[in-house]
């Protein structure tokens, strides 16, 4: 069981719980209103999306730009199960939550299956083709949703019960980040980094590069699908346009500005860039002009992203950083 490695797992959990406690106290004290809580929940979902994208893009050196497509698969699958088939509601949480959990896991599995369909043929190729195939797959998934009537088609799917609370987001974020963290610092993670640094050398040392790449991609798509499920039950209304390639590009921005080669970067990036437009609210329409400028300047003056190769100490013991981290 490579997943059940305890070192730093507990530290990561404690760090997340502390953040949760602070937010909850601020919420109860009336400093953070419902709007900010909603925003923080989005940050949590974006963190999981970005870390899962980072597994493929940052750690394996592949280039996927269609992550929102897998998110859409998860969102629609889970929403159809809870809303269209079973008509669950939040009034009876003892029935609702088990259904919700099964639904988001089903969404994740279906997204993983979609990930396999996209990844298995295209990861054999090198270069930018994965990027283009994932981008196309993202838009193709969106088109399929648009023409499928049971999914609401171009009208969107509404009336989804609001199962996603702050607690749900935190449990989900902790679980996903810990799972992905432990995978990335296992021997599989080391083969991923070997593939990133030199695919030919990795192959020569006996790593089955195609299998490793496809597995990471499917694993990553699974988390994107689960995030989609959590996202759908937060917004309560989903529309195919929520999951266009523009959304995928947003996650790329979070990842590369935070620092693609570290988990900490994939946590910092979405946290800053989800909150930044809100913090600049007083600038009104200027904020969407300043936001890309910050992005460009960050990339020019700190190309490796905000965190670069550094990890927070709750993710990786500082003494091990030199050993684990490679360029």
């Amino acid at each position: 069981m490579t997943f059940v490695r305890t070192h730093r797992t507990i530290a990561t959990v404690i760090a997340f719980v502390l953040v949760y406690a602070v937010i909850k106290v601020l919420n109860l004290a009336g400093i953070l209103n419902a709007y900010y809580i909603q925003l923080i929940m989005l940050v949590g979902i974006n963190i999981v999306m970005t870390v899962s994208l980072g597994m493929v893009n940052g750690f394996t050196g592949q280039f996927s730009i269609g992550h929102a497509g897998f998110m859409a698969v998860g969102a629609y699958t889970s929403a159809v199960i809870t809303t269209v088939w079973l008509h669950t509601s939040t009034t009876n949480p003892w029935v609702g939550y088990p259904v919700f959990i099964v639904a988001i896991l089903a969404g994740g599995l279906l997204a993983a299956a979609a990930g396999y369909l996209v990844g298995a043929p295209s990861l054999r190729l090198k270069g930018d083709y994965l990027a283009i195939v994932t981008l196309s797959a993202n838009e193709l998934i969106r088109t399929v949703i648009r023409v499928t009537d049971v999914l609401g088609g171009p009208r969107g799917l509404g009336g989804i019960p609001k199962f996603t609370t702050l607690e749900v987001v935190f449990v989900f974020a902790i679980g996903s980040v810990v799972l992905m963290r432990n995978y990335l610092f296992s021997s599989h993670g080391r083969s991923m980094k070997a593939i990133r640094d030199s695919e030919i050398a990795a192959e020569a040392t006996g790593i089955n590069t195609t299998r490793q790449k496809v597995f990471v991609f499917v694993f990553s798509a699974f988390f994107a699908g689960v995030s989609g499920g959590v996202f759908a039950h937060l917004l309560q209304f989903i529309h195919p346009d929520n999951f266009s390639f523009v959304k995928s590009l947003e996650y790329l921005i979070y990842l590369y500005v935070g620092g693609a080669t570290s988990i900490s970067g994939a946590i910092v990036g979405p946290a800053i860039f989800t909150l930044l437009p809100e913090l600049m609210r007083s600038l009104q329409s200027w904020r969407m002009v300043i936001y890309p400028l910050i992005l460009i300047l960050t990339m020019i003056f700190r190309t490796e992203g905000i965190m670069g190769l550094k990890e927070f100490s709750f993710i990786l013991i500082p003494q091990r950083q030199r050993k684990e981290v490679s360029v």
């Binding site: 190729l125 590369y256 890309p292 990339m299």
Partner: protein, 301 residues
Amino acid sequence: MGQFLQQLINGIQIGSIYALIALGYTMVYGIVRIINFAHADIFMVGAYMGFFLAPVMAKIFGGAFIPTIIAAMLITGLLGFVMEKLAYRPLRYKSRLSALITALGVSIFLENFSAMPFVFGPNFRKFPDLIVAKNIPIPGSLGLSISNVLLLDVGVSVILMVLLFWFVNKTLIGKQMRAVAFDKPTASLMGINIDIVISTAFIVGPALAGAGGILYGTTYGMLASPFLGIWPGLKAFIAAVLGGIGNIPGAVLGAYIMGISEAFATSVNSNLGYGIAFAILIGILLVKPSGLLGKFMPEKV
């Protein structure tokens, strides 16, 4: 049969506009290997230039179309040059992906800056009539007609494409561009100034997109918002990949395939028309990963 021909004609028309945008993607990709996401927004700037310049040009020159398209091409070419200088050049020798994120940043900046009320404004605009649209019936074909806008679209793009082929194949800088696209380090050892070649690609590509923007405005008669470039840009990019990215005839071929298949699929269902491009692309890439006319380059150890 009449329906079939009409869709074919529509497809060729939209394909011509895609081709002009796709050429810019493919040139920039061929030389610097980045997907220039901001290219779609340069197309948008070109279209808006038509809106703002056409009345001025009509006053100065009497006729609007030719001076407007030339002015728009000059302005978008300049914009491409400045963009490369400020945003991409500092990242030239760093990670390719950071250049891609910068391109995204430039794209978001151009969209939102253009949407400011004192720039282009966020609202719908009616595109001025650069030429008087009229339908010319085709003799001997049962009620089929061709609009003069269509002839203009196809004519202008064919002229620009021929000029581009001449530029790339016959001029010295064009030869240098091909050399740089083939092998950058060797080309620079042969005394080619890489900076000039890259700048040229970032002038010529955006200028073509600017012309595409004018044609887009003339064809549809309206400009929805400064975000209008995103989807035509994406389609054109897909077209460039379909034909083999980095390959100039490939981009044109891809754009016409894309335009025609889209016109046919749209006549069945508008959502299908949108998605067909991606299905075709995935299908072709699975069979021929380098695109229709692209060359496969094996990786050397």
